[in-house]
Amino acid sequence: MPSLLTITDLSFTHIGRSQPTINPIHLTLQVGEIVLIAGATGSGKSTLLNCIAGISPIHTGGTLTGNIQYNHESILEWSVQQRSRILGIVLQNVETQLFTDQVTEELAFGLENLNLPPAQIGLLTNAALQEFGLESQRNWAITQLSAGQKQRLILACVLAMNQPLLLLDEPFAYLDRAGAELLLRLLKHRATQGQSILLVEHRLDLVKDVCDRVFQFEAGHLVEGGRALASVSVNRTGVESEEAIKHAPSGSHILQTQNVSWGGYPAFPDLEIGQGETVLLKGDNGCGKTTLLKLLCGLLKPSTGKIKLFGRNTRKQRVVHIAKTAGFVLQNPNHQLFGDSVRQEVLQPGVTTLAAEQMLEQLRLSDRAEQHPQSLSQGQKRRLALGAVLVRQPQLCLLDEITVGQDPQSLSLMLEVLRNFTQQGGTLILTSHDPQVADCLNARVIQIGSRG
């Protein structure tokens, strides 16, 4: 079979790093093939996709060596827009791939860019709406769509353009079971019609049945064949396993909720959490975990029921007041970085220089102390945000989605710091859809929303 896409000796080094993110790799993609690239966060799989799409190095900077050929013609000099003629590209960030304010407008947008005649655009739009089960959302505004619907819309828009090659970066991230099955069927169908698909996805079990070949990224090297991702590796020394005995609550409950509900979510389970406890709120996307955390810290006031924090009803307290004893690490660290250097982020009023330095040390950010927080990677930013919260020595720490966007190393550093926090008597409530984290922290698991 002729090779549609040929990657030879491709290596990429990000700006400011000494080690390449991708070590020289070879990869070919045949007509009608579906190839999966799996790997942990930060392993290099998205970087590979960006290189093929032309995003790296043109938009990100960095050095690329090697060659990428389409039908034996090098496309290294092609811009992303030029490559979009042959590559249908779907990226991870759902919000930044939608540009109009209405569903049919969005579908038409890409086709207008191809300068297709209006009649053809109409036909392709209708076909796409059918294919992706968006018929009933035809006249909806983009703002009305859920994350899963937005993802389906973007896939519909790109697939309607019918390029010979498809590059999909985590296309299943927001899809529910029905949406995922639909997409899998569609991809299989497109492959039989001759489209070649390069899929990046970390949910190996979901997609491996449709893929012709599977590759895994491990520390920048591409290895054929895949297996379930290594479980979160956290250093467990002998000393720590002794301390693995669950901390018994000290008797008084610092947090009690009764019959709390908010918005369209079903009533949340009643909580009774004692000092020093670690609790993991587990549940699927959209079940309300983040909303519950916001209710606990006072950002939202409950529609029904009451929440008592340190013995006082949160309904009457202002968030700024509650924040004196409760800290909240948000899912997106970009919303809570305010300093103009990493050190300044942790050196807040009331915090000693020693405490700040120690926190940076624990989080492995000391060597970046003078850097601007916004120049850090996502994982580093998250650690810094955690540090900024813990350095204020709150009695309660709330943490939203600890595993999202974290490479294994960053995650284990955070877990380490959190264990120290709880060992010193702090109470921790975190959310995650990864239950392994519960074991590492000896957390009591509470299910939010219905299972599955």
Binding site: A53, I55, H59, S79, V80, Q81, S84, R85, I89, V90, L91, N93, E95, T96, Q97, L98, F99, T100, D101, Q102, E105, A108, F109, G110, L111, E112, N113, L114, N115, P117, P118, I121, G122, T125, I142, T143, C157, V158, M161, C297, L299, R318, V319, V320, A323, G327, F328, L330, N332, N334, H335, Q336, L337, F338, G339, D340, Q348, Q374, A388, R392
Partner: protein, 241 residues
Amino acid sequence: MSIARASSKSPGFLTRVNPLAKIIVSLVITGMAFSVKNVWAMGVLAAVLVVLLMLCITRQNIRQIGQGMIAGTIALLLFVAIGTLLLNNVQAALLYGLRLVAILLPTPLLALTTPPADLVRALQAAKLPSFLILSLMLTWRFLPIIQQESQRILEANQLRGVDISRQPQHWFAGLFVPLIFRIVSYADDVTIGLETRGYDPNATRSMSQPLVWQLRDTLFVIGSVLVVVLVGYLDSVNAGG
């Protein structure tokens, strides 16, 4: 008489009229309002616009339009009252009050009957450069998103104990700087997103729904011309009155 003419233009009708025609007519009416000198002529113009506005009322927007009209009427009465006191001339104050109505009403009318997508199509048809139209489209799409981001940042400030609404000294480092980093990040990602969708500012693009001139557009233009002529006639006949 004007009501009879207006009733042929139901809200659904106005929404479906060619957006470019609507823009041009609203510009003409706004400009005309500056030159009319007679209070009766101005009154007719204002009345036509108010009636059109009332015809735009649907179940969804009745509250908003109702509140707007009540607020507008109160403001108008206040304006005329103050104007009479300052100018010692009721008729002049009334003229200026009605003139304000005639100048300010065409745009909300346009906004109520023209969704942003139609406006974009009108500008494309008017051969405005495609990058300007893109900028407008992106502004509509991402303005609410950036507002949400600023809301998140304000919440994050509360979560670290800073009540930003009462502490303006924190506005810069607490709100603007983080927001700008978010905006710059969005701008980079959106550029990439546009390129992956094949957008090229210099290339020719087709229009998925080209503007087609229809009978209702002709009716609309004729109706508008009649209103303009009537107002002009009243103005010239009553010049100095």
